[in-house]
């Protein structure tokens, strides 16, 4: 079913968790809510499920006002990060739960319920687990059961909170592919919350990037990756190197920077900030270079370097170790960005980037 969120706000005491959210989700769409912790994405999901209530705004699903309905009446089948399976019930009974609690008039006959559970067990590729208890399952298996329990009630909207957050990397990748298949076959409108951009981009039809209670950008993976709409999105997507530049006739200029690889922009002249991924920077050793190498670390495959530029500007670069030019500490270099994004205005000082995990790893290892 289609879902419309209009101007939704939610406050916890003094903190504004949601500051006016507008969102349209089409029927059958798979949408990711992507953002760092504290961006309000889980609160939005809980409001859609009826587990939390907004202070203002509208929530319409399939033409019905859902703010008039209790969680029981919405029947969304919320899937929790830690699954929240019922530990005293077998897998079979966990999946059947939503059907067995229906009122007498609508509840299917026991045989019908058993048949539906059997179908779901096969659909989710876990028929051999039917008579086990949740404690006897691995994380990935529990996730499948939790999804089965939610799908059993034919949810109007399927909601998943960090569905792969508690799993290890390999299981995560497998389940991701599997969830996409399940979604395509079941055709349920699905919204899931994640802080992992790779997960969001690979899995979702559309990604909604959230930050500090606002939607920063909505688009496909490619759109967001290639054209981040704001400095926040750029930082969140790993464009963690911020260099102050001056725009002149559509070109970014700064000391020690060779911007010949960047296309001209239709931007007014004046101060601006160039956002770069560490991997998109080529280093050109040069005696006149304005950046000085202060740290070199290796991961085996990659060399990670930190440089200090004019006016305390810090930069990081990442290059294949074997193909890297001979570099030493203290050497001066010129930076040539291959791809980058420019936003008007000076860099916001001392604002730590809400960086995703890999980038923060770089910082730690090179410290």
């Amino acid at each position: 079913m289609s879902l419309t969120v209009q101007n939704l706000t939610r406050r916890f005491g003094q903190t504004e968790v949601l500051r006016g959210i507008d969102l349209e989700v089409k029927s059958g769409e798979l949408v990711a809510l992507l953002g760092p912790s504290g961006s309000g994405k889980t609160t939005l999901l809980k409001i859609i499920a009826g587990l939390d209530w907004p202070d203002a705004g509208r929530l319409v699903v399939g033409g019905e006002d859902w703010l008039d309905k209790k969680a029981q009446e919405r029947r969304t089948g919320f899937v929790f990060q830690h699954y929240a399976l019922f530990p005293h019930m077998k897998v079979r009974d966990n999946i059947a739960f939503g059907l067995t609690v229906m009122d007498r008039a609508h509840r299917p006959a026991p045989a019908t319920i058993a048949k539906k559970v059997e179908e779901l067990l096969h659909f989710l590729q876990i028929p051999h687990l039917a008579d086990r208890y949740p404690a006897e399952l691995s994380g990935g298996q529990r996730q499948r059961v939790a999804l089965g329990r939610a799908l059993a009630i034919d949810p109007a909207v399927l909601l998943l909170d960090e569905p792969f957050g508690a799993l290890d990397a390999q299981v995560r990748r497998d389940l991701r592919r599997w969830l996409r298949e399940v979604h395509d076959k079941a055709g349920t409108t699905t919204i899931f919350v994640t802080h992992d951009q790779e997960e969001a981009f690979e899995l979702a039809d559309r990604v909604v990037v959230m930050g500090a209670g606002l939607i920063e950008q909505i688009g496909s993976a490619d759109q967001i990756y290639d054209h981040p709409a704001s400095p926040f999105v750029a930082r969140f997507l790993g464009l963690t190197v911020e260099i102050p530049v001056t725009m002149r006739a559509g070109r970014a200029e700064a000391a020690g920077l060779d911007t010949s690889a960047l296309p001209r922009r239709a931007m007014a002249d004046g101060p601006a900030t160039l956002f770069l991924r560490p991997a998109d920077i080529t280093l050109l050793p040069s005696p006149e270079g304005a950046f000085r190498v202060t740290e070199i670390a290796t991961t085996g495959a990659l060399l990670r370097l930190r440089m200090e530029g004019p006016a305390d500007c810090q930069a990081e670069a990442e290059l294949p170790r074997r193909a890297a030019p001979a570099l030493s500490l203290g050497q001066t270099v010129t930076l040539r960005p291959e791809v980058g994004h420019i936003f008007p205005g000076s860099p916001t000082p001392a604002q730590p980037a809400p960086a995703p995990a890999p980038v923060s790893l770089i910082k730690e290892s090179s410290r």
């Binding site: 009826g50 029981q72 029947r75 089948g77 929790f80 929240a84 739960f97 939503g98 609690v101």
Partner: protein
């Protein structure tokens, strides 16, 4: 629970000796303080033979005391279960001003001597008490009758169920209940099919402790019951009375009954614990 195995033969002498000494001390103390006195009760009760024992037990006053004690337990335990679940649920699921204070209030009976509870009720419901005249005018008998005994026993045993259930509810969190809600379960269905099964062992355990305490309660009840033989004497009071009557055999026989009741409860608790593990 993890139990450490005895150290290997090459362990230093004292590291083998200390556990043995401690184990020996624990066994000796429990023998001296628990097992021997209890065995003594049984031996004294049967000293005059089966005949005398059964005669003492079957005396109408003692039988009535047994009946009254069981009746009080049967009334108090279910009330306590209801109160314990409600209190634990409120404290575990909601944050509200005064939550900590409520928790402390509920635990007061643990630290207060039961006789104080008895006196409180005496001052509240007694003839000269706060509500006394009103109760007298409306012909409601609370003190020196079953209601008083039940009230005091309730007071003394009130924290047991709640204390057992609360940590479990807090550890479990509310996600399972929320999941059940989003699957369409009503509030009652969530309680019966998700909350209750999760706490069932703790609940039973708490109920057993509460039952044992209710059966054995002496101090508070002695203040409010009025010690009317064959009417308001519970088993512990009856034992006391028989003892002061110098009816030692009768007193020991009644004590044996109470001890047996406690042992049954203890066995129930042990079975429960082994199942829970």
């Amino acid at each position: 629970m993890s139990v450490v195995a005895a150290p290997g033969a090459m362990a230093p002498r004292e590291s083998r000796l200390v556990p043995r000494l401690l184990i020996g001390a624990a066994v000796a103390l429990s023998m001296i303080f628990v097992v021997v006195p209890m065995a003594f009760i049984f031996s004294r009760a049967f000293a005059a033979g089966w005949q005398a024992f059964s005669q003492n037990i079957l005396s109408p006053d003692t039988l009535h005391a047994i009946y009254l004690t069981m009746l009080v337990a049967v009334i108090v335990v279910p009330l306590n279960i209801a109160f314990g679940i409600a209190a634990a649920w409120v404290v575990a699921r909601f944050s509200f001003p005064g939550r900590k204070t409520l928790l402390t209030l509920i635990e007061i009976p643990f630290s207060i001597s039961p006789i104080i509870a008895g006196i409180c009720y005496l001052l509240l419901y007694g003839r000269q008490g706060l509500l006394g005249p009103y109760l007298l005018a409306n012909d409601v008998q609370i003190l020196f009758a079953l209601p008083g005994i039940v009230l005091v026993t309730m007071f003394v045993t009130s924290p047991f169920v709640m204390r057992e259930v609360l940590p479990l509810m807090q550890a479990q969190g509310s996600e399972q209940e929320q999941a059940a809600l989003t699957l369409g379960a009503s509030g009652w269905q969530v309680f019966r099919r998700v909350t209750l099964p999760n706490i069932r062992w703790a609940l039973l355990y708490g109920a057993i402790l509460c039952g044992a305490r209710a059966i054995g309660e002496f101090g508070g009840v002695s203040v409010v019951s009025g010690n009317i033989r064959g009417q308001t004497n519970t088993l512990p009071l009856q034992i006391d009375l028989l003892f002061h009557d110098l009816n030692v055999a009768g007193s020991f026989a009644a004590a044996t009954t109470l001890t047996l009741l406690a042992l049954v409860v203890l066995i129930g608790k042990t079975i429960m614990e082994s199942r829970r593990a």
